[in-house]
Structure formats: structure tokens, C-alpha cells
Assembly symmetry: C2
Homo-oligomer: 182 residues x 2
């Protein structure tokens, strides 16, 4: 357990001139590397589904909040508004979601998950669970819970500092129903 694989993880040593060693201890740098690992694991586990972590998040958000507009979707997934539009456009091309002009507000486009999208989401869930397990393998069980709690607290309390904050759905807002199905 907890074998160090050779990469300087917690050495406090200073290098010759300058000090790149301390770079490896900065939370910002470590979070970036953990993010890269998380994304790599996602692509490895979800290779069969031809989907990105962000697209998975969109499916997940739509499964619970079908028919929201793009800005609301961006808020629910913590995406930049422009990025959200691009992601949705690619997903529409892949047949995972559909877009319809709102009748209540002609500025809005409501996004709906398709049957294909719903099936893909169901199939991908197990793979995504494996991503989380593999990512947290280096931590003991009680450490994992603490780690997630720390991340959640940092994300939640610093939410407004983000350039793409999480915006929970105000009860009763958005949410245009799909015409026939529902």
C-alpha cells in the first residue's frame, strides 16, 4: 500500500538553482495533474462510447432536467456558456441530444436528451463508476470520503470565484416539456 512510484510526491527538497520541487507541491499544480489523470481514465474506460467527460455530464444533467435552455444547462454542469453551446452542437450531431426553439421565449433553445443519449448514459454509468474507483485507488476507504468532502467543500465555498460557477435550477424555472412523449 501507498508505495511511492518514484515520482517526487512529497519531497521537501530544494533543487540546485531555483526551486521547481515546490511547484510539485502547489495544490493548483496537483489539481491539474489529478484532472488530467481523471480525464485519461475516463477516455480509457469509456473508449467504446465515443464520449467526453463533459458530454457525459450533459447527459446526466438532462436525464434529471430535460428541456432546459443552454445557459441553464451550462449552469447545471458548471460550463462556460459558449463552451456549452459547442458541446451541445457536437452532441446534436452525434444524435445524443435534440434542440428545439422555445415557444415561451423565442430567444431560448431547449435541449432534450434522445433515446440514443439515454441508452448511452445507462451503458456508460458502470464505466464512470470504475473511473472514480481507479482514481481513488491510492487512498484508503476513510481517506476517500474525506478527500471527496474536501473537494466538495472547496468547490462549493469557492463557487462564485469560478468563471463558470454551478447554478442550481431555481424551482419551477425553465424545463419545457417534450411535446409528445413525457
Amino acid at each position: 500500500m501507498s508505495t511511492n512510484t518514484g515520482v517526487p510526491a512529497t519531497t521537501g527538497q530544494t533543487t540546485q538553482r531555483g526551486d521547481a520541487g515546490a511547484l510539485y507541491q502547489l495544490p493548483g499544480h496537483l489539481i491539474r495533474r489529478c484532472h488530467q489523470i481523471s480525464v485519461a481514465l475516463f477516455f480509457e474506460e469509456c473508449a467504446a462510447f465515443d464520449i467526453t467527460p463533459q458530454q457525459y455530464a450533459v447527459l446526466r444533467v438532462l436525464a434529471a432536467n430535460d428541456g432546459v435552455d443552454q445557459i441553464t444547462l451550462a449552469g447545471l454542469a458548471a460550463f462556460n456558456r459558449t463552451t456549452a453551446g459547442e458541446i451541445v452542437e457536437r452532441m446534436e450531431g452525434a444524435g445524443l441530444v435534440g434542440r428545439r426553439n422555445s415557444k415561451l421565449d423565442r430567444r431560448m433553445k431547449n435541449i432534450f436528451i434522445t433515446e440514443t443519449g439515454r441508452r448511452l448514459l445507462a451503458d456508460a454509468n458502470a464505466a464512470v463508476r470504475r473511473v472514480q474507483e481507479r482514481l481513488l485507488t491510492p487512498l484508503a476507504r476513510d481517506e476517500r470520503a474525506r478527500f471527496i468532502e474536501y473537494l466538495a467543500r472547496i468547490a462549493s465555498e469557492n463557487n462564485e470565484l469560478s468563471r463558470a460557477p454551478l447554478r442550481p435550477l431555481a424551482r419551477g424555472r425553465g424545463r419545457e416539456r417534450t411535446s409528445g412523449t413525457a
Copy 2:
């Protein structure tokens, strides 16, 4: 302390149909949001320096390992090789680093930090310290140490799973000296 700012951080509740709530508990999603916050704080604190987190990392790596080639630099900063080339190119344009063809190996280009780069690094260090402090504000002192240790362990033990792993400098490798100075 630890006041929840309204964003669902650790609710275990299930939403109507589907379950987007659990998305907000996935380490992968939380790490992504923490990364966005970290980057946002960096840009806010370093606005005066017109620099990105990645460019700061390059300066930091070069200050300790001046004269390495691009691939080695990518390894030391945990960048993709192509991305590293682009970042270095922009930094060359900004006068922060210089590039010279290696005389020992005509495939290589050695990267050197400039005086401008060195001065910018010295000026930016305090701002970067503030970024880390603000990022970790939601955690108590002992929690911060644990959090960093968890991140370091995950990054270190999963290093080879990353598509851009950290590659420490093999002692005595690379490192072409600048001709006149040193």
C-alpha cells in the same frame, strides 16, 4: 466556518427522474470544478503579469533546469509534447524564454529563461502563493495538509495513467548550458 453557500455539496438526495445530484459528488467532476476555480484565482491574482498557469510552470521549471529540450520540459511540467511546443512558442514571442538549436543533437531545441522571464517569475511568486491560500480557505489548517497529501498521492501513484505523465530529469541528462553567462 464551513458555511454551505447554497450549492448542493454533499446532499445525498436523488432528483425526480434520473440523478444529476450524484454527478456533483463524483471526484472527477469535483476535481474539474476545483481546477476551474484554481485557474480563475490564478488569472485574478496574476492579471498584472499577463501569464497563464502553464506559462508560470514553465518559468518555474526552467529556473531550476535551464536549457532543457522541449520534450524534457514537457515531462518536467506534465504537459503534452505538442502543447509544450505551443506554450514555449507563445512565451518566446512574449520574450519570456529563448530557443536555440542544440549543437550536441540537431533534433533538439534547448529552451532558456530570459532575464524578463526571471524577473516576471520573481514578481509572480507572491501572487501564486495567494492563489493557493485562497483556494484552500474552506479547509482548516490540518485539513489543508491532508488534502495536499491526498492530491500528491493520487497524482504520484496514478502518474503512469496520465496521458502527460510527470517525467523527472534523469541525473546528468539534457541541460545544455547557456553559452556565455553561467
